[in-house]
Symmetry: C2
Subunit: 121 residues, 2 copies
């Protein structure tokens, strides 16, 4: 019982920090979808950390990317699995095509990937 | 019946051309693995055609790529599925990390993708 109490206190101490970190993660997600990370042009480690934080909550995380960032998204997942959260598994990988509106009103087809990661057990 | 006969003749006429095309496809596969296409820096349509020819035999085709070519490989599969062989399905997608030897003897980790496509039924 005393041990449990100290644990609860520690969790409470950590709460404010976690909140600021969660805000950072949200910046990385232009689409307001929960538990997903949208990979773009920022440094790889930013996305690795954002993904790791979601997985550390014990929930699945979806890593998304479009166009050239697709290879970047694969790097993010592989670095995470091999270096940071060993045992993370690929739950599902979806490839699709999205239509984006171009500068002069025409539509461009862009490939996209969605990688669902499940946390280590 | 007469229509079927003309179709058979057309197929026979096409045979010699197909043989030369198969040779081209083999050039695109540095690793001597059957029914797989290794995507690199050539024009996207080359790989789309190579993949389509394998799928037209009625067998599964594995599209492979490393590093930045991963997004290129996804493009190949999506263009094929949306424009050329509608009904082609993703049978499996594997992400992994390969160790390549660098110029000065050090090892570099490179992400890789293997996409198994199954022909339309």
């Amino acid at each position: 019982m005393p041990e449990e109490n100290t644990e609860v206190k520690e969790v409470k101490k950590r709460m404010p920090e976690e909140n600021t970190e969660v805000k950072e993660v949200k910046k990385l997600m232009p689409r307001k979808e929960e538990n997903s990370v949208f990979v773009g042009r920022r440094p790889t480690m930013n996305y690795v950390m954002a993904t790791m934080m979601i997985l550390n909550k014990g929930v699945d995380c979806t890593v998304k990317a479009r166009g050239r960032a697709i290879s970047h998204a694969v790097d993010v997942c592989e670095i995470l699995r091999n270096r940071f959260l060993k045992g993370t598994e690929y739950k599902g990988i979806t490839l699709s095509t999205e239509q984006l509106e171009g500068e002069s009103g025409q539509t461009n087809n862009v490939s996209s990937i969605e990688i669902v990661l499940s946390p280590p057990k």
